[in-house]
């Protein structure tokens, strides 16, 4: 924030403000984030056992390049689509948390996200340093799709913690966008925020009144985005070749890039040629905007259905909406803008860059949290209903979707049979009638309860949803007033112990990585000086006397031997020593070179 206005900091190598959410992990655990990770992806594709997901790194071992890790946040192994299983190698998918298998190591989506956050933190600190402000980034506001469930939010918070950051608040992306737009003109009225990104869709309806941004309703789909449209184009482009041609990942990647580029071009022109290079030949097809719009229509129709539901939940009509805000790259499509305008009977606002508006809004929220925007306040909602499993596997709603947060509800529990000492509680999230169709959030075991007749114990369990939309649970024995211990087992996601262990591992690995890097760099130095010496002895041999040559070869021999070992300090010492004994030789070479150059020059002058 500068003078009350948010500004996006450019942190990329090329001065870009966007860090692509791409993470490359080498077989040795070396991590690369952003543009450079993308560069590692296509030309290093290696096929192994018919699986094209592996990426080759030096040494013939395997690593991986992971895109849009946000899509995997908070998912269980059983929620991974077949398409994703073909793309990445996963460790044991029966577990409660998805884990990417990379070499012999496994990484959770939270760990991968933590790398992106760490990179952003470093970049921001560098940029602040360059601007003369030596400030550390320690506390963060992270934005999430509004329709993220409890597990996805928890996983996002875990990522922040793993990156060594204190997550002060998770803010819903459409809500953040409304903050960015609402800042200048503290208007009063209802706003619809249509957020169509690469992988997720959100619609939020807000009421703004004297600086209070109150979310009335939100709806969305965490698996619907511009990527779906790209995939439809890819299918049209090369889908018929799927079986006849053995398509490797390289082809899919270039087809996807071609599709995405064509989609972007068609926002400005009526038709364009799309070219995909295949081994041996290339495919060229003509795509018109009309044809693209036909492919995109079903996906856009799904977003509009969500809009209808959100407006109904907000208990208003589309005519009551005073402004529509567009967020996310996919809203650049003219068809999206047209359809949104039709549904809400007004032209949408898109004056703020749709890729940056969420970040700008998050900065505004951060300054609200710092107490420097005293007149603004955000009242957000929980996107999905929360309840518990009751008799017959039915979901009983305790907190309805679109309830303003923070909120809490207390529910009384008792025992069903005599002398029962524990009560099992299964917490669910979702809108379906049956427990099995809702998402399992956690299982609690209440107790130990004093053995009594059935129905006598009275335990009050309080479900509290905080301002991040994350559930907290507390239980109290009504008769004794004692707080009950709750053994919380998240159905999906990481337990506190697991996070602690990952943090310890990260620290250990950090030290190990540093040691490895220093060793590699010492070896490189050794290799370089030994190579140079060899070359110079070959070219300038006559400039060395016998005793000098022996001394140099003796040190070089010892360095050669040390180079294959792991004693970094010995290598460094011998490099230094060899450098010293070869200095006189190097100086003579320099002299000779200068003399030669002068002679040549004088010859040229004469001629």
């Amino acid at each position: 924030m500068e003078a009350g206005e948010p500004r996006v900091i450019a942190i990329g190598e090329k001065g870009s403000a966007l860090l692509p959410s791409v993470v490359a992990i080498g077989p040795d655990g070396a991590i690369t984030v952003g543009e450079r990770a993308i560069e590692m992806e296509p030309h290093l594709t290696i096929e192994r056992d018919g699986q094209v997901s592996a990426v080759g790194f030096a040494g013939g071992e395997y690593g991986a390049v992971i895109r849009s890790v946000k899509r995997y946040m908070g998912l269980g192994g059983d929620e991974i689509a077949a398409e994703d299983r073909a793309r990445y190698a996963f460790a044991d998918l029966s577990g409660p948390v998805v884990r990417f298998q990379i070499g012999r190591r496994v990484f959770t989506p939270s760990q991968i996200s933590a790398e992106i956050l760490r990179d952003l933190k470093d970049g921001a600190e560098r940029a602040l340093h360059a601007a003369g402000k030596d400030e550390k980034v320690e506390r963060v506001v992270i934005t999430v799709p509004a329709y993220f469930n409890d597990g996805q939010r928890q996983a996002t918070k875990d990522a922040g913690r793993l990156a060594g950051l204190e997550v002060v608040r998770l803010v819903n992306e459409p809500t953040a966008a409304s903050l960015a737009y609402g800042l200048n003109k503290m208007a009063t009225g209802n706003v619809a925020v249509f957020d169509f990104g690469g992988g997720t869709f959100d619609i939020s309806i807000l009421s703004i009144k004297e600086g209070i941004f109150e979310v009335l309703a939100t709806n969305g789909d965490t698996h619907l985005g511009g990527d779906d449209i790209d995939r439809a184009i890819v299918d049209w482009l090369i889908g018929e070749l799927r079986d006849s041609l053995k398509l490797d990942r390289h082809v899919w990647n270039s087809a996807r890039t071609a599709a995405e580029d064509a989609k972007k071009r068609l926002s400005d022109v009526a038709g364009t040629d799309v070219v995909v290079d295949l081994p041996g030949h290339s495919i060229r097809k003509h795509l018109t905007r009309t044809a693209l719009e036909q492919m995109a229509a079903p996906f856009i129709a799904r977003t509009l259905k969500r809009c209808e539901l959100a407006v109904a939940d907000a208990r208003i009509t589309p005519a009551d909406i005073d402004a529509v805000v567009l967020v996310g790259g996919a809203t650049r499509m003219p068809l999206v803008r047209r359809r949104v305008a039709e549904v809400f009977h007004r032209e949408p606002l898109c004056s703020i860059n749709p890729d940056q508006v969420v970040a700008l809004g998050a900065a505004v929220q951060a300054s609200v949290l710092m107490g420097t925007q005293g007149d603004m306040l955000l009242l957000d909602v929980v996107p999905l209903s929360l309840g518990i499993e009751t008799m017959g596997g039915v979901m009983e709603r305790l907190i309805h979707r679109n309830t303003t947060i923070p909120t809490s509800v207390a529910e009384g529990f008792t025992t069903a049979v005599d002398n029962q000492t524990h009560v099992d509680i299964h917490v669910l999230q979702g809108e379906r009638e049956l427990a099995k169709d809702c998402r399992s959030l956690a299982r609690f075991k209440l107790g130990p309860i004093q053995a009594q007749s059935a129905g006598v114990p009275r335990i009050e369990v309080t479900f509290l949803i905080d301002a991040n939309g994350i559930l907290n649970v507390n239980a109290r024995d009504e008769r004794t007033g004692r707080e009950h211990s709750i053994d919380v087992k998240p159905s999906y996601g990481l337990t506190d112990d697991e996070i602690e262990r990952m943090l310890e591992e990260a620290i250990d690995l950090g030290e190990q990585d540093l040691e490895e890097r220093l060793l590699i760099s010492a070896r490189n130095d050794a290799e370089q000086i030994l190579g140079a010496l060899q070359k110079q002895l070959g070219e300038f041999g006559p400039l060395v006397d016998v005793g000098e040559r022996e001394r140099m070869e003796e040190v070089a021999g010892r360095l050669e031997a040390a180079r294959t070992g792991t004693d970094r300090e010995l290598i460094a010492k011998l490099v230094e020593e060899l450098n010293e004994v070869t200095t006189p030789f190097a100086e003579r070479i320099m002299d000779a070179a200068i003399k030669l150059a002068l002679e040549k020059k004088s010859v040229e002058e004469l001629s």
Binding site: V168, K209, Q365, V368, L369, L379, I405, P406
Partner: protein, 213 residues
């Protein structure tokens, strides 16, 4: 009496400390949380203003850098406030809550169909059953769907009437010495509304399914 986590003052339960203005995690009923008398008639605009004003003072966003105890009090106080606001804002939820405060409950003896709705309920359920049995995408199915669509309009009209009746009666019931009658009448209207709500939900679901088929 509760103790303020910020200044330590012991006081009557409130959402905001009378001494230092910090949030308090006090157990309060919905009316008390918003500083209102226990009356069924509520000015909704004033209620919203009060809710916003209190939110500005106790919301967790205002205490992001405070001590853990203060942050916890802010979280709990705001949860109580939002819950109270949502309950009182909706006339039906307000009525049900009022019953609960008076030791009454609707759910337990609400199994019987209210007499004045019996005929309607019967007819609608008949139609819904026919709709389920009709072959998908047949002329009969389309005809039934349009009949049920007309029913939906009729049900909404009945619902609007019931809500208006509820609203009219709130003022009457707020008069003292009406307790006995009040509880019975309130129960009847709320029970009708609950029934209509279930019917409308079933009809909407059936229409949605017909559309999808």
């Amino acid at each position: 009496m509760i103790e303020c986590p910020s200044c330590g003052r012991r006081q009557e339960p409130l959402l905001i400390c009378a001494e230092c203005g910090s949030p308090l995690a006090a157990p309060l009923d919905c009316f008390a949380a918003l500083g209102l008398p226990r009356k069924l008639t509520i000015d909704l605009d004033a209620l919203e203003r009060r809710y916003h004003e209190l939110s500005r003072r106790i919301h967790p966003d205002r205490f992001a850098s405070s001590a853990v105890a203060v942050r916890g009090a802010s979280l709990r106080a705001t949860a109580t406030l939002t819950r109270s606001y949502r309950t009182l804002r909706d006339p039906v939820a307000r009525g049900l809550y009022w019953l609960e405060l008076n030791g009454e409950k609707l759910a337990e003896n609400n199994k019987r169909v209210p007499p004045e709705l019996a005929e309607l309920v019967f007819e609608v359920q008949e139609q819904l059953a026919e709709m389920r049995d009709a072959p998908a995408d047949s002329a009969a199915a389309r005809e039934l769907a349009s009949q049920v669509g007309a029913r939906r309009v009729q049900l909404q009209a009945r619902m609007d009437d019931a809500l208006a009746e509820l609203d009219r009666n709130f003022a009457k019931w707020d008069q003292p010495a009406q307790e006995e009658m009040l509880t019975l009448e309130l129960k009847t209207i709320l029970s009708n509304i609950a029934y209509l709500r279930t019917l409308i939900r079933d009809v909407d679901r059936a229409l949605e399914n017909a559309k999808a088929a």
